[in-house]
């Protein structure tokens, strides 16, 4: 299904479109939520909240301003950060920047039709550290280009080109068959 059609059906409150959305994006959104929350049960609750927000505010989505996926990632990230700040996680509370996705990937033993965490780990391991860091900042933590350049102490223009080469490398590493 093309994104255009998916958005049109979601705006028409089509249950089948929601099902499609859930099946194609729930693991990704949950991954981002978990990378912030680091608690399996709370992550499930937040995922439901995120889908509720997506469903209820789909009218406000503007394709001209970005991808549906990008929009949903932002909702997942912001909702998670709100929950993390409002809930008392006690000793589990960690600095956001400590939650490096590669560390989380390492402890994930999921193997099923959709996810093979350790296989993905072998692909990610082949990326250079600076690639892993940049991907973590831009896609998991939602840093801006400028924030990423300041954090990694590299020029803003380098963020763009380096990110291109890092993601291209990852795409080469992930086989067509993965997760299909």
């Amino acid at each position: 299904m093309t994104e255009k059609l998916l958005i049109r059906q979601l705006k028409a409150r089509d249950a089948k479109a929601f099902e499609y959305l859930y099946r194609n994006y729930s693991e990704s959104l949950q991954g981002v939520i978990f990378s912030v929350i680091r608690d399996k049960e709370v992550t499930k609750e937040v995922l439901q909240d995120v889908f509720l927000k997506i469903w209820n505010s789909i009218e406000s989505h503007d394709s001209g301003k970005g991808r549906l996926f990008t929009w949903m990632l932002r909702i997942a990230r912001n909702t998670s950060i709100d929950v993390l700040r409002s809930k008392d996680f006690g000793n589990q509370k960690k600095n956001l920047s400590d939650n490096f996705f590669v560390d989380i990937l390492e402890t994930n033993d999921r193997i099923d039709a959709k996810i093979d965490a350790q296989r993905m780990k072998t692909y990610v391991d082949k990326l250079k550290d600076k690639c892993q860091q940049l991907i973590d900042l831009l896609y998991f933590k939602g840093f801006t280009q400028k924030e990423a350049s300041e954090t990694l102490d590299i020029p803003v223009g380098t963020v763009k080109t380096r990110n291109r080469s890092c993601l291209s490398k990852l795409r080469e590493l992930i086989p067509e068959s993965y997760g299909r």
Binding site: S28, Q30, K114, K121, F143, N163
Partner: protein
Amino acid sequence: MDVKAYIASGILELYVAGTLTELENREVYEAMQEHAEIREEVERIEQAVRQLTASVSPTNTSAYEDRIKQTVLGEDSMDETPVVPFPPQKRNWLAYSGWAAALVLGAGLFYLQQENQDLKSDIQTTEIENSYLEQQIEQANKSLDASRALVEILRDKNIGTTNLAGQTAAPEAYAKVYWNQEAQTVYIDAQGLPEPPPGKVYQVWSLKLNPLTPTSLGLLDDFAGDENKIFALTNANASEAFGITLEPAGGSESPTLEQLYTLGVVKS
């Protein structure tokens, strides 16, 4: 547009990351509409990011797909899900009926309170009316007593009646004198006299006729204020006639004959 160079610039990866400006986003979106190659590249980048982020997902989301679907879709597709949760509505109904009952009770209490107040004020009014009536009865009784006493006096066998006729000064005037010689008391019925002008007072005289000798019996004080216009005066004289004159306030030593209102001779 150099599509390959555009793709190689890395702008599409940042587009998926969501870090571009609004203007850049618009630009990429338009480029995607124009060039299928760019759109496909964006979709592939998106797929890689989706696979990567999904790889840290700790549990299979299929396990709670139904629950989340029901929660999300249940919000606005009640007719599609036959099991509609009624408890909230029931609670609402209970709450509404509770409020309604409270309102009715409140209105009832208010009504009763008003009624009570009305009754209290009715009682008060009645009490005032009662005391007023009591006063009237008392006054009537008093006046009845006075009338009875008066009748008693006038019926006394020792009493003599003398009619005083109007004179030149007041031809329409008249008066009656009831004289109890034994009690040495005269009762002047002054009903037939006009009200004296201000600064003036009626004076009653006992007269001896031969020679004409007037003796003052007293003044008809507070003429206007006296209801039955009957005045009691002491009379120890062997009166042959009675006269009433209008005198200056306080009375006079001897009658002012020009102001003789009534005069009558005692029947022997």
